[in-house]
Symmetry: C2
């Protein structure tokens, strides 16, 4: 037997018991004739004591142990003379009577401590050692608890967890599929699902009524920051529901998660904001509501005063940064540099300081009088001491830059605290978005999202104006999930594919089985999917989902621990009837 207890378990009640522990040597300290070892496992740390005088041989053996050795120690629990109240087992220690080295350890490539000396690349290569560190292990335990909470909640609401296939069919629509060559059907491929969307809809056609699954999804994208080729989705679907029903169900789920995991209780409903309002007020469809600093449009108070930059602009708008009128020239220059970065793309930044004395100082004083600037301030309801930051240009670009600037100012002012969670639902998304490159509409959510009944006739006349029964769940500027009420009529689904530029043959070939299914009594249905990785990162206070994934891939999609992807044998390629083309 390797242990009678684990290392986080022994308390004052266990004093005088003979016990056995196994674990890793975290630390060895010598104090005169005494040697203390911190023995670690997943559950905690227990102090082992060796007395040179009382048991010379054992105490000498103890000093020869090294960090991360796996040992087994038998001994007696005694009360500590100087207790450590910060430690679960801080009331006791173990007088070791028998010691066994189960497995020695070479010196690890980085220290197994909360603040490790290992860089990210090194820690990823030795991820199994990284997992021994509290922050990483605790993130995995948190992930387990979130999954458990989700399952318990959904189970209590009569959702059935049902598995959908991983080897499905490739669809030309949307982001890229990973494909899997079939050996038994040479020249044919399976695809890995980007989501179980179609299958969960078929579950509804099949009368399963409420479905969920915590499931891996796959997307072969060019890697952007914080994307992984495989990610985990909490995937849900319900029959006989309206948008309100779905929002209610998953608001409750979110509350259950916050309560169970963080002990936070939310009163009342989460705010619901239209897409239009979110874009106009926050420059983003995933607004961070932990702070105000709303965007206001300024066209009416800035144009036709002779300042050509504003006069020529489709849009002039800005934010008001409370108490920042004392920003220095240098600080303002940095902000100008910030908005001009290519990924933000503003042409420039105009500022107007509302000084404490009630006067204004702006970078466009040549064109705008104190009276004019007072008008600006009025739009924001600004107070003396505030700083107005204004951007102009093409509307959506400007709003996008203002969103980035707002988030940056929120960070600078410490308004984005990680333990403050402010959720909302964003609704009334456009059904379609126009893609200039391909000169056609794309589905903003996906092709199965239903248009709002009141906008149905616009599908023929002004498809770009049709709003969808779609909703996103946003927390602290992060889109944690989203969903929609689906199309459940084959005619409407055909029309949707038509608008997306599918020929009838293409839509039939790709999704014929779904439209066929709709002919046999499809119920109205809708659902949502949540990013488990994002949920956990949010609750863990992590900036990257990589922190909450056991074995993540790096920015180029590589697993550097196991060194994948990798070439395969020619024999295997032959079996699959494949050849590698020479790279061009």
């Amino acid at each position: 037997m390797y242990r009678t207890h684990h290392c986080g378990e022994l308390k004052i009640e266990n004093v005088n018991e003979n016990i056995t522990l196994s674990g890793w040597v975290q630390k060895i300290r010598k104090l005169g004739g005494m040697t203390f070892i911190d023995l670690r496992d997943r559950y905690g740390i227990t102090q082992l004591v060796f007395d040179l005088e009382k048991n010379t041989k054992l105490a000498e053996a103890a000093t020869k142990l090294g960090r991360e050795f796996v040992i087994k120690a038998e001994g007696k629990v005694v009360e500590r003379s100087s207790k450590n109240p910060d430690m679960q087992t801080g009331d006791i220690e173990i007088i070791v009577e028998k010691l066994e080295i189960i497995k020695a350890s070479e010196t690890p490539p980085f220290t197994i401590e909360d603040e490790s000396d290992g860089g990210e690349e090194l820690r990823m290569k030795y991820r199994y050692l990284d997992i021994r560190r509290n922050p990483v292990r605790n993130a995995l335990i948190l992930r387990h608890k979130v999954s458990k909470a989700v399952r318990d909640y959904l189970d209590s609401k009569e959702f059935i967890e049902a598995e959908t296939p991983y080897l499905i069919k490739s669809t030309p629509e949307g982001a890229r599929d990973f494909v899997v060559p079939s050996r038994l059907s040479p020249g044919s491929f399976y695809a890995l699902p980007q989501s179980p969307q179609v299958f969960k809809q078929l579950f509804m056609v099949g009368g399963l009524d409420r479905y969920y699954q915590i499931v891996k999804c796959f997307r072969d994208e060019d890697f952007r920051a914080d994307r992984q080729p495989e990610f985990t989705q909490i995937d849900c679907e319900m029959s006989f529901v309206t948008q309100d029903d779905v929002i209610k169900m998953f608001s409750e789920m979110a509350k259950y998660i916050f309560k169970t995991i963080k002990g936070i209780e939310f009163e009342g409903d989460f705010p619901i904001m239209s897409y239009e309002e979110a874009i106009n007020t926050y420059g983003s469809d995933k607004p961070d509501l932990r702070f105000g600093m709303k965007i206001h449009q300024l066209n009416s108070v800035t144009q036709n005063r002779g300042f050509k930059v504003f006069d020529d602009a489709e849009y002039v708008g800005g934010i008001c940064v409370e108490g920042a009128s004392n920003y220095s020239r240098k600080q303002l220059d940095k902000l100008i540099d910030f908005v001009k970065k290519p990924q933000i793309g503003a042409k420039g930044l105009i500022y107007a300081k509302y000084n404490e004395d009630g006067t204004f100082k702006s970078s466009v004083d040549k064109f705008y009088s104190q009276e004019d600037l007072k008008e600006w301030a009025k739009v924001f309801d600004a107070k003396p001491g505030d700083l107005l930051l204004v951007i102009s240009g093409e509307k959506s670009n400007s709003l996008n830059a203002l969103n980035e600037l707002r988030l940056e100012m929120g960070d600078r002012l410490g308004l984005r605290k990680k333990d403050n969670f402010v959720p909302l639902w964003v609704v009334d998304f456009p059904l379609l978005e126009w893609d200039e490159d391909s000169k056609r509409f794309h589905a903003m959510h996906h092709p199965f999202t239903s248009p709002k009944a009141e906008d149905l006739e616009l599908m023929d006349t002004a498809p770009g104006k049709v709003r969808a029964n779609a909703y996103d769940f946003v927390v602290n500027g992060v889109e944690v999930g989203g969903g929609s009420i689906r199309i459940y009529d084959n005619e409407l689904q055909h029309k949707m594919f038509d608008l997306l530029g599918f020929t009838p043959e293409e839509s039939e070939a790709q999704f014929g089985f779904l439209m066929e299914a709709f002919k046999y009594g499809a119920p109205p249905h809708g659902g949502a999917a949540f990013g488990l990785d994002r949920w956990v990162a949010l609750l863990n206070g992590s900036d990257s989902i990589r922190d909450v994934i056991a074995f993540p891939k790096n920015n180029t999609g590589r697993d550097i621990m196991i060194d994948a992807p990798a070439p395969i044998d020619n024999a295997q390629l032959n079996d699959l009837n494949l050849k590698i083309s020479p790279t061009t």
Copy 2:
């Protein structure tokens, strides 16, 4: 709002309430001026009533509905005059006041009833309609409940559910990998995991202590009966454990499942049987213990009596079928045909009837006296009225044939009842098995299974005799799961790869990261994996795992509903730097 209640919910307490139901039309019956509709959803059936006299228009509308129409009905709950105690809602019916057709249905390709008129192929093509049938839907609900029970049990034992990657590296060992070409690393491939084996071991190295995951695994095999290219595993691993600890933990899990799902309580420990005993006594490493009919070796009582067939045989053995001495010539001929089938492969079958009058009649009376046959009977402890069936030949082939014959006789005698569950553990498997084709050893479980300490030195002298710390969990002749105590020493792991014919370079290239991991304080660990599909099939009384998979693939690995696998675009192939070779 589509419904205030679901169709399995309304009871006598709800009488006089105004309610709304939505669901599918299961059945329409006309009785004089009354029309009755059975409205169905996942939860049950509720009877809707339309009275031609009281509401002519509505009653006429009702008669125009068809099977599988989705409707919404508002009305009042009333007590039934003739109650149906077999129905959850059999005390009440609904006097419908408002009716809406949500979605009409074409006539389904088969009847949505417990006994459908649709063949398997048709039901698979329209699996979403098949799921509407009670037997299929109930199997999926059972699957959900089993998963939930497993998670609840493991969570209560401090197992952490942690996700392992799906995009990993291909290994030449074992069954075939499905591979996934990488677009970002042209010419390189990921592989889909055949199991998360190596990752769960790394979790143990990482100190996670207790891990589990219900996870999809993939195996590109030539399809055999009841194999799926993707299947679901309950994958578990524990640190600081011996074989006994693991067997105890998962015996408890099995008991929890039987109790929760079937209400069956098991007293005491499950039997533990050595591999050797299982093979010699049942001809199988997964014996069905629902019945006895053990195999006995008969060499000593059959050889050297002048019957050349037995004299030349390495092995003579048989079974005793209780009360079957009255089998007719025709019945016996059928058994002979059975054992001669190529998949069973016996050369023939000798019988000896132990007649009720105490005499014997055998097919080898020429060679064996009544006294001789009495000796045979003694080996089996046979009684008058029994039938002895004897097979001879090469030992393992004969045992295999006797296993098949035993199971066949068990079926014929009704000894294999589906609701009788008899579990056991089979232990002490050989570590290696010799493969005549490749003239080398293969790992019987997998290359990470540890040899028994007491057999360690045989690894150099007689590797074929080394027993492994491996165990299988068997119920009713089905291998539901299995596992082993793993190697956690890099030297021993190297030696194992060596025995399996890997060069040091090959083992380093494939599993270098694992052996590297073992250098940094790996704990002793072991675990088990259970086939969720098999568990559920067993509990569901299904012969095929296909019955308990929502969207299964057929025998050739095709999903005939979505028509996958399928060819992909040339553009996609080019992106992946791949070409299809002409089939040769």
